[in-house]
Structures are given as structure tokens and as C-alpha cells.
Assembly symmetry: C2
Homo-oligomer: 293 residues x 2
């Protein structure tokens, strides 16, 4: 049934913790909360950054982060990835000698979640991006993806307070990663794609988070021409999507969505009378206000 190569593992005890508290009636309750732990990333001998992450797929997170920051080149040969669970470090080693001393000094904090940092020349680099103009997305695929993603068991459904990103192909969800920081989830997908030789051809990208400038930049860097979200848009996100020729679909809930860039890739093939509006039963936990997610 499922085509997932990777999907959330809400049963993994390391990713959540049981805690106790009281509810609105003063009754004692026990609930699950999402873990967040530090992971310090080294590229060869150089300490790059300390990220807060739920802690799964550290190898994908490390490689994806470096790729999405332009510190690893697509043609770099990775000679090793060493993750040390005890001291919370991951070291990526490459054949090429790397040095990002200067690059690390120039940072822009962006408006999205976690790793909200665009290094100096990132904006320049995406100006060279050319996204596939012939890619298409059918509305029937959008509805099928939305249904599958929202009903797949996840840490979100188990403990909340987490973001999800999904690499999709036509109507199939392939790689579903979650993290406390949305950008960790994106980077883990980029890392998995690089480590497993999966290209952007024919792919679309789904996120639970907002369609901000940095989400558009990261998706463009990955070469993926279609970005879909349950959440809303920022003005710069829309503008950048237009510049790089990306299709930007947001506020997708039930049968509703809005396309604010690249609408020429959309093919309306779904029979809307068979698509339910999002009701309480289908709605993901949390129930309100994901526009700011």
C-alpha cells in the first residue's frame, strides 16, 4: 500500500518523553512531548554549527545541511560520516579539503524555524537555479498526497510540536521526515536523497510549515520545482518562487488550496465532488492556526 522509503517512527522511544502535568480541570494527566537534543556538526576538522534536533537520521541531517548551505558540492566525494551518540557530534569527511572560516562569519537569520540561517552567498547561488519548466502537478495527486500524509502515523500525531516534510513523486509520498526544526526535516530529506542517489526529477515537496523565503530557497537548491504546504505564504516567499520559476501551493486543507506562483504546472483533473472538506475527523491534531507553523 505505502510507497514510503522513509516514514516517521512514532514508536521510537528516544524521540519522545512521557511527562506528567495537570489539565484544565486540575486532573493529573500523562502525555508525550517531543525530544530536542543538540547535535554538533563538523565538516572535516571544522566545527560548523550546533543544531537542536529530535535526533533521528543524523547522517542525513548532516549531509543535507551542508548541501543546502552550499558547503558540500553535489560532486563532493564523502569519505566518511561518523556519528557519536554519546557526545552528540557528527563528522562529515570529504576528499576535497574544505574551509568555511569566512563563510561562517556572514549570517542572515531568517524568519522560518530552526537553522534559520542563510549564509552570505546563498542568494547568489540560487539565481543560477533553473527548475524544470515541463514538470506538472495534478490536483488528484495533491489530494492523494494530502490524505496519505495526514493519516500516516507520525510523531506529530503522537506528541505534536513538530514539523514534517515529505518528498513526493506524482501521487506517492516517498520520504517523510519530521523534526522540531522544520529546516532539519528539509535537510534530512536532502541528505537522504544525496546519500541514496535520488534526484529531483519528477518530484514535488510537501511541508507542514509556512512558505517563507528560506523554504523556497532550500527547495530551489534541491532542484524541486513544486512546493506545497498546509500553511500560508510570506510576500518574499512568493516573490522568490516567481524568480526561480517554482510552483507555490499553500493553505492546502481539504479540497481548498491557493497557488501564488507557477500556476502553469497545475493540471485540474480531480473530481471535487469526491473530495471532502477538512472536517474534525480528518483534521490533524492541534486543530488551529497552522498558518504560522
Amino acid at each position: 500500500m505505502s510507497d514510503f522509503l522513509v516514514q516517521p517512527d512514532p514508536g521510537d522511544a528516544r524521540l519522545t518523553r512521557r511527562v506528567t502535568g495537570v489539565d484544565h480541570e486540575g486532573k493529573a494527566v500523562e502525555t508525550s512531548v517531543t525530544m530536542e537534543r543538540p547535535l554538533t556538526l563538523f565538516l572535516n576538522g571544522q566545527e560548523i554549527v550546533t543544531m537542536m534536533t529530535i535526533g533521528d537520521h543524523p547522517d542525513c541531517l548532516a549531509v543535507g545541511y551542508l548541501l543546502n548551505q552550499g558547503m558540500l558540492r553535489p560532486d563532493d566525494v564523502i569519505t566518511g560520516i561518523d556519528h557519536d551518540d554519546e557526545i552528540d557530534t557528527v563528522v562529515v569527511r570529504t576528499q576535497r579539503k574544505t574551509d568555511y572560516e569566512q563563510k561562517l562569519k556572514k549570517k542572515t537569520l531568517t524568519s522560518g524555524c530552526a537553522q534559520g540561517t542563510v549564509f552570505g552567498d546563498l542568494m547568489d547561488e540560487i539565481e543560477a537555479v533553473r527548475l524544470d519548466p515541463d514538470a506538472v502537478i495534478r490536483t488528484s495527486w495533491l489530494y492523494a498526497l494530502s490524505r496519505e500524509i495526514n493519516t500516516t502515523p507520525s510523531l506529530y500525531l503522537e506528541a505534536g510540536a513538530i514539523h514534517g516534510c515529505v518528498l513526493c513523486q506524482e501521487d506517492r509520498a516517498l520520504i517523510y521526515m519530521e523534526d522540531v526544526g522544520r529546516h532539519n526535516a528539509v535537510d534530512k530529506i536532502a541528505g537522504y536523497m544525496a546519500l541514496n542517489g535520488i534526484g529531483p526529477e519528477g518530484k514535488s515537496f510537501y511541508t507542514t510549515g509556512r512558505l517563507t523565503s528560506e523554504m523556497v530557497i532550500k527547495t530551489a537548491r534541491m532542484g524541486i520545482p513544486i512546493l506545497v504546504s498546509r500553511s500560508g505564504f510570506t510576500a518574499w516567499g512568493v516573490e522568490l518562487a516567481g524568480q526561480v520559476g517554482m510552483t507555490l501551493i499553500g493553505r492546502m486543507k481539504g479540497k481548498r488550496f491557493l497557488v501564488l506562483a507557477g500556476q502553469e504546472r497545475l493540471q485540474y483533473d480531480a473530481d471535487l465532488s469526491h473530495i471532502a472538506d477538512e472536517d474534525q475527523r480528518h483534521r490533524r491534531k492541534g486543530s488551529s492556526k497552522d498558518d504560522a507553523a
Copy 2:
């Protein structure tokens, strides 16, 4: 009726932009999207960071950011704040000579939104924080605050894709700031408090975002003992709240909420039969999944 000292100004044309697109039926639509623009912050002669922000209250954002990062001390004398709208800069000048060359090198990217950066010694500093053990929060105040915040006109209701934070006193919402980055909204409140001589005594803090470690750290730095959110918790957020003696109230919607730390400050005085469950009419726009906001 309203006690707001500051509240959102959804009519300010600089904060949103009208854009056109198509909807799920292929119909042309026009909608508002939130602005995000760069603001480069200087402390005296030193460039500190470039933030993405909606752009209102740059003076509050600048001062609050520096305070919450420990780069301004509470007793520092500010001799000037110069905002230049054309080149998107804000310069804060102090009597004391400042130098954060070393501090700027040691960064931890955290899991929340924007400015998700905790400088090296921030964790050490909050260990000295002592939050008022005698502060209380009544459930009737929580419900009154929740109702007022959710019905006040805002950029969120106008354009979505934005976070809100509110400084509260008893059942009164005092300072309501919004921003594309949640941490900008927090920092703008901290800056407003500092610039207007408003202390943390008797205050609580409401956020639309998740209760992560960095939200707890920022609230603790502001000296506010009670933190409330519509959204969910992370494990480290709960742990830190316990360490600093903060009351942490999350998943607050309609009559429901959950307290995972500091429950001794809570006073149950509301008649729950008069509090409505959150229904479609009262629900803020967006309608789903704010646990990951």
C-alpha cells in the same frame, strides 16, 4: 474596553502585500501575504546580525534582541537608536563600550522560529534567574486573555503566516506584537518593556508558537514566571521550565489546556460551564495543526 498599550495594525499597508493567484477550482483570486524584509542590527560600531522581520517597531526589535542575547545589560544607558528605513539598518548606541567579536562566533541554532540562535553563555546566565514564586495565574484570566487575543484584529487574521506574542497582566492583554519570526515578536515585547520602563512583576506571557527550550529561555530572561501557548511542548522546554521555576501552560484552546511545569501557581476559579469549546466561529484562521507553529 481594550487595555492594549500596543496592538497589531493590520491596516498598515507596509506590513502586507496584495498578490494574485488561482484557487483549487482554477478561479483567479487576490489575497494578502505578510511582508518579510531584512533589518541589519548594529551595536555601536559592530554589525551583529541581519534579521528577517515584518518591519514594524524596529527600535523595540533591536533593543529586545540585544537584551535577550545578553549583549545589552539591563543597566546599560542607551544613548541613541537610529533606524534607516532606506538601507534597512538599525543602530543601537550605548554609553558602555561593547565588543562581542568572540560571542558572535559561538552560536547554537535552536529549534524554534527565526533568530533561533542561542549564544554561547546564554544557558549559564539563565541559571541565575529566579522567577517570582508567589506569582499566580487564575483560570478565569487565562480564558479572558485567550478570548481577547483571538478576537483582536491582527495581521494573522488578515494575512496569516505570522506569529503573535502578548505580554499580559492578570486578565488584561497589554502588548501584542506580531512577526514572521516568533522570536522577533518576543524581542519586540522585551524591547518595548525596556524602553518604556515596564517590569515583569505580575506579568504573564502568551505565544502562538511552540513551547520550546528557546521560548522558555527568552521568557526566563525577561523575568516572567508564566508562559502560555495555544501550541504544544518540547521535552527540553518542559525540563528548562522546571529548572527555572516557570509555569508552562500549553495546548490552550477553548476550555482545554495542559500544565506541564509550575502547576502550583494555577488557581482554578473559572466556571467551565460558561467557557465554550473552541468552535469554527471562534477559531482563528488557518484551522489546523498549530502544535508545530
